[in-house]
């Protein structure tokens, strides 16, 4: 069955194409990108006044299955991803059981096949059970389908284990994604340490808990020559360390999350547990540093860190609430609202940071539009204004600090392998 996307503005970050064109899709692949294609047999999708871009790629999400299906399932997260314009997502290994062996990888891939919506790429754990003690079977994890390794949620506190993980992953040929947090500095903290935590009487997580670990891991990557990707960079000093490391040709990349460049720690002022996230929302100065990093390329890509939690888990006192914010359904709009409309990035640059660039960070064959490529395509209305509503999330969870906010831009159709998986009426 053929699909023909007509009259859209086609933006492809890889070829730098930006022109009005049609895209013809057959058998799940892009057959032609050209002006005025006609094909009587094809289903027509009109994209007039819309942009047509590579399906978005999120390299940092928590799908919660297996183990925490009451928060999210592969199916519900896939629907959320599709609604957010994502066609490819990488899921973190802090499931139960942990993604630290072939069996769990195969379970996830098989559940994703049943869900049948998006491309799902598991990330294996660096260490068994995320305990930071013994390496997982990194080779076997790669062979069974993992695309990177991470103990996300913690740092590998033991520097020797981290060094060996980097060396071994270099041999295996996959990057290590590091959640940077020196636990002895962060322990017990629930929000950014600073004036707001002083006023609220909440224990702070100092930015230096992140930066000492960013510095350590950069040095280990430099020493070993391994590929390091730093997850959810949240503060100025981390951006500076990574900028310098890149100048020194260390093989390091990094991501930042929409909530970190949108909200400061002032959002915590009324103790809304939906603002509790790790790393925490930082200061306005940190936001400015993130924006500079996004603009000058220090920050390679935007990732959601989609972290669903059930309402009952978040509906507790701030100290006791779990860390995490859902992001799949708001990331694109936050990118357009906070980065494009505020002239930090062009729409072309934003699309690159949400598709081609994250795909390249993890070496995925996604995130571009060209002949014979898989027809993973998102059609976006960059002008439409909408209000984030609690009841409209397709994710199983509702833990978003953006509920009630007006945002600009949304996916109007999401296509995976030539099949429309999301298209609201």
């Amino acid at each position: 069955m053929a699909l023909l996307i007509k009259n859209g503005r086609v933006i492809d970050p890889k070829s730098k194409r930006d022109e009005e064109a049609d895209i013809l899709i057959e058998n799940g692949k892009i057959v032609r990108i050209a002006a005025n294609i006609t094909n009587n047999a094809a289903e027509i999708l009109d994209a007039k006044n819309k942009i047509v871009v590579p399906g978005l790629v999120d390299i940092h999400a928590h799908f919660r299955e297996p183990g925490y299906e009451y928060k999210e399932t592969i199916l519900s997260a896939s629907h959320a991803a599709a609604a957010g314009g994502y066609t490819s997502v990488c899921c973190m290994p802090n499931t139960n059981p942990v993604i630290d062996n072939q069996g769990v990888v195969e379970f996830i891939l098989s559940e994703n096949k049943k869900a049948g919506l998006i491309n799902l790429f598991p990330i294996g754990s660096i260490t068994k059970s995320l305990e930071g003690k013994e390496l997982s079977e990194l080779g076997d994890l790669k062979d069974s389908g993992c695309v990177a390794f991470s103990d996300d949620g913690h740092s590998v506190m033991n520097a020797e284990i981290m060094r060996r993980a980097l060396e071994y992953s270099l041999m295996v040929g996959l990057p290590i994604i590091s959640h940077c947090e020196e636990m002895s500095l962060a322990a017990g903290g629930v929000m950014n340490e600073g004036y707001i935590s002083a006023v609220l009487g909440l224990k702070g997580i100092p930015s230096v808990a992140e930066t000492v670990m960013v510095a350590r891991d950069i040095q280990l990557a430099r020493y070993t020559g391994a590929r390091l990707h730093i997850a959810h960079v949240s503060c100025r000093e981390s951006v500076e360390l990574i900028r310098t490391a890149k100048a020194n040709k260390v093989a390091v990349t990094c991501e930042c999350c929409p909530h970190h460049f949108t909200l400061s720690d002032e959002a915590v002022l009324d103790y809304d547990t939906n603002t509790k996230v790790n790393p925490p929302l930082r200061t306005k100065d940190d936001i400015n540093a993130l924006l500079e990093g996004v603009k000058d390329g220090t920050i390679d890509c935007i990732a959601t860190d989609h972290a669903p939690h059930a309402e009952a888990e978040k509906d507790v006192v701030f100290d006791q609430a779990p860390f995490g914010i859902i992001g799949l359904e708001t990331a694109l709009a936050l990118g357009i609202t906070e980065l494009v409309e505020k002239n930090i990035l062009t729409i072309n640059e934003l699309i690159e940071k949400m598709s081609y660039s994250p795909a390249r960070v993890l070496g995925l064959d996604n995130g571009y539009l060209e002949q014979n490529a898989s027809a993973d395509i998102t059609i976006i209305d960059t002008k439409r204004k909408w209000i984030v509503k609690k009841d409209n999330f397709l994710s199983k969870s509702r833990n978003s600090p953006f509920i009630g906010m007006q945002l600009t831009g949304c996916a109007v159709a999401t296509i995976v392998k030539g099949r429309i998986i999301f298209k609201p009426q």
């Binding site: 004036y195 002083a198 009487g201 702070g204 509906d315 006192v317 701030f318 100290d319 006791q320």
Partner: protein, 316 residues
């Protein structure tokens, strides 16, 4: 007189100076009741007040309970060990059940900052914060301010120093907001490790030198040092703490004004943050603070419950 419109008392940060003055004036008029032979007026007859204390407390709890009883309210006291929280019920569910019993006011103490704020948003009855984590303890600060005003005649222009563990002190935070709103100059003084980061962005002077903290002070409020902070690595030993930050007669003589007034929210570690001769000496108003606590809490109960009534009448 200004009108009181708040259903809840959650902290002093959100009050303006007129509201604080109103509480102080109301407290002054209630203070005399506790000196009568029959220490009771019918003001809150028929009101039900629940005291929900999730942390141990002698002073604050008995002070609130006596305040309620002297206004003829019915009180119910719940301690965590006997509550359904122990059986896994969430805090909100517990409070929704208490609310369903048609009570008028809930006084809550909890070890987590923000609890009173969160409950006030979803509950009908008045919520009074009797101390939430390291955040605020508004009635303690109000009774401190009431005592200062009673002794010194005014607040504006006074120099008040708060000495000790500022990081973990809800008493310090409430005092900072309340005193500065009324025009006092507040200095906080303690070990660098017990001063929160960015404290200097609050309207206070900050010092780690006790002599400087005492200098020119009209009032010194000495905070309790909790021994577990030493175990957490925040200062080397109680001995060194007492030497550097303990308030002694000798240090007062050397650095403080002659008519300095010494306060302590209790319970005291005698010989550590304050020596017994200071605690019991001529500068000390520590027991008067306790007496005034009842009057201040009577005032707060009266005001919030009256505002709650007004709100209900408007809805009808």
């Amino acid at each position: 007189m200004e009108e009181w419109t708040r259903k809840d008392l959650l902290g002093l940060q959100e009050l303006d100076s007129k509201e604080i003055e109103l509480i102080l004036q109301t407290a002054a008029s209630f203070k005399e009741i506790s000196t009568r032979a029959v220490k009771k007026v019918p003001t809150l007859r028929g009101k039900t007040i629940v005291l929900f204390f999730f942390e141990p407390s002698t002073r604050t709890r008995s002070s609130f309970e006596l305040a309620a009883k002297r206004l003829s309210a019915d009180t119910l006291s719940i301690a965590t060990s006997s509550s359904a929280i122990q059986k896994g019920e969430t805090l909100k569910d517990t409070f929704k059940n208490i609310e369903a019993m048609q009570v008028d006011c809930i006084i809550i103490r909890h070890s987590s900052s923000g609890v009173a704020h969160v409950l006030a948003k979803c509950m009908g009855p008045s919520i009074i914060n009797a101390g939430d984590g390291c955040h605020e303890h508004p009635t303690q600060a109000l009774l401190d301010i009431f005592t200062i005003k009673e002794k010194k005649g005014h607040i504006k222009g006074l120099n008040v120093s708060i000495i000790g563990d500022i990081s973990h002190s809800r008493v310090a935070r409430s005092n900072i907001w309340g005193l500065t709103k009324l025009g006092a100059n507040v200095t906080v003084c303690g070990p660098k490790t017990l001063l929160p980061k960015d404290i200097e962005k609050m309207p206070v002077k900050v010092t780690t030198d006790l002599a400087e903290g005492m200098k020119g002070a009209d009032v010194i409020n000495v905070l309790r040092i909790q021994k577990e902070r030493q175990k957490a690595g925040l200062f080397p030993s109680l001995r060194e703490y007492a030497m550097r930050f303990g308030v002694t007669t000798e240090k007062l003589k050397n650095y403080a004004k002659e008519d300095v007034m010494i306060m302590h929210p209790g319970p005291m570690n005698r010989g550590i943050e304050i020596t017994p001769d200071v605690a019991d000496g001529k500068y000390s108003v520590i027991l008067e603070q306790v007496t005034n606590g009842i009057a201040v809490r009577m005032a707060v109960l009266y005001l919030v419950l009256q505002a709650g009534d007004d709100e209900q009448q408007e809805q009808q």
